[in-house]
Amino acid sequence: MPDEPLVEESLQFGDGGRLLGILTLPNLRPPNAQELPMFVFLNAGLLHRVGPHRLYVRLARNLARMGLASLRVDLAGTGDSPPRLGLTNEQSVAADFEEILSVLATYGGSRAIVLAGLCSGADNAIRLTLNERRVVGLVLLDPVCSPDDGFHTRSLVYSYTNPARYIGWLKRRLKGQATQPLGGDEKIDPLTIRDVPSHEELQSAFERIGDRGGRVLSVFTQYALRYYNQAGQLGRVLKIKGYHRFCTELFWPEADHTYPLELHRHRLVKQVKTWADVYHST
């Protein structure tokens, strides 16, 4: 069980130590530590800094084993960090980020930053990229995306040709739970309960990452099916020159939004490690 390759330290920082985060550092500092970016994990919805099914802890520790430092933080109003009263969510997150950059400077100077987040964590990462030049990487789990030209047709075809849907309906029927009509799954549009960035903000964030010579990893799960249903859709709607040069876009409809199954968590961790490994070779 001993976990020597890394050390963790709790940080209480910002005005009066109001923000709480866990800094994960490789035990042995790589010789090029100053050139490596630091990862910052942003809360997934209201869940505290460990992430759903401890996903952020696992990612942070795996990155540390690769020599990459990270901070998983409770933004104001989540986990152990009290809310900032009188501010909008966007203002509050921006104020938190100032304080995150400030505390990270004491550990890593003005090192580059990779922002990582699931759901609202991805939304915040996108907005924070716009005004901070040090952000050179994004790991976006179920970020927002606009429909492309073929989205609605694919959605329709998908609704009626997906055998999994019929199997699901049949299973519910056999269990006497056929309360939902075929094809009438969850009614809530997931994006309506999120404070998502606009298309322009999303596009600008990607453009700036590209301009900064950075990289983006986007992973869409079955949660995103109401707005994203084909690998490559994000690239098509963003229409950014050189998108495929710096962006990795994955469509995993078999995985659930919060990665409740170990096999999907394992796959995600492996994917992020592969993506992050490039920092060692550049």
């Binding site: 069980m1 001993p2 963790e8 709790s10 209480q12 849907r165 699901g168 409809p253 199954l261 170990e262």
Partner: protein, 251 residues
């Protein structure tokens, strides 16, 4: 202001947050033993609120994550309930050192109630044990985690047969060690009988009865949806109010 820190042996460190008393004489230390697995995530915010309320009423409060959970070190698949019992004992010791208090109250939530009660034997400083919706039978509890896992697995319509077989060995999205499974099965309400008379209090969010008649039992109705695949946070304010009463009432 709270104080967050790691303690315990290197490589097996436990993460804790200490809430100092904001008033009163600070004679009591309450150590919060969080529930396990999916319930840990869902109650994190509620238990933080509870800790703040208790600190406002003059108590020292220590919250912690068992090894292999939350921010603590280790992997869940590598720990057992014996490790977690030890974690409670270490947390009590750490809380006592930090607070200087010798009067210790324990709060056990759900299956952690069984562990909290077994910790009473190990620490003579424990003077009160309050349980929130205590699990009465480890075997049924494990089965409910399996049922949740089945619901999760049924939602995944793209799993291959081999993958489906694999995921059936998980519990509400978590992979447990064999030792943990066995120990959970062997847990039953007899753990509550070992607690000396007068120490135990129970707060329930439903009308479920507690098997020991002489134990003071308060019901604060709230639908916690413990045995479902729900992922929403549980902010059971009526329950939290009763818990505060039980943990601060002098008698």
């Amino acid at each position: 202001m709270i104080e967050a820190f790691f303690f315990g042996p290197c490589g097996q460190q436990i993460f804790a947050t200490y809430h100092p008393p904001l008033g009163g004489n600070g004679q009591v230390l309450t150590v919060i033993c969080p529930p396990f697995f999916n319930e840990y995530m869902r109650t994190h915010l509620a238990l933080r609120e509870l800790a703040i309320s208790l600190a406002e009423r003059g108590q020292h409060v220590l919250r912690f994550d068992y090894r292999g959970t939350g921010d603590s070190f280790g992997e869940l698949r590598e720990v057992s309930l014996v490790d977690w019992q030890e974690d409670i004992t270490l947390a009590v010791r750490e809380g006592r050192e930090i607070s200087g208090s010798s009067r210790v109250y324990l709060l056990g939530v759900r299956a952690a109630s069984l562990l909290a009660c077994s910790a009473v034997d190990l620490s003579s400083d424990v003077q009160r044990v309050v349980l929130w919706d205590p699990v009465l039978d480890g075997s049924s509890y494990l089965q409910s985690l399996r049922d949740i896992q089945m619901v999760i697995a049924d939602r995944q319509l793209w799993l291959s047969r081999a993958e489906r077989r694999r995921v059936k060995h998980e519990y509400a999205g978590y992979v447990l060690s064999e030792a943990m499974e066995k120990q959970l099965v062997s847990f039953d309400a007899s753990a509550y009988l070992s607690v000396p008379d007068g120490l135990l209090r129970v707060v329930s969010s439903s009308t479920t009865s507690f098997p020991i008649q002489r134990v003071p039992h308060t019901v604060a109705l709230f639908n916690c949806e413990w045995n479902t695949a729900a992922e929403e946070l549980i902010l059971a304010r009526p329950v939290l109010e009763r818990l505060v009463e039980c943990l601060t009432n002098p008698s």
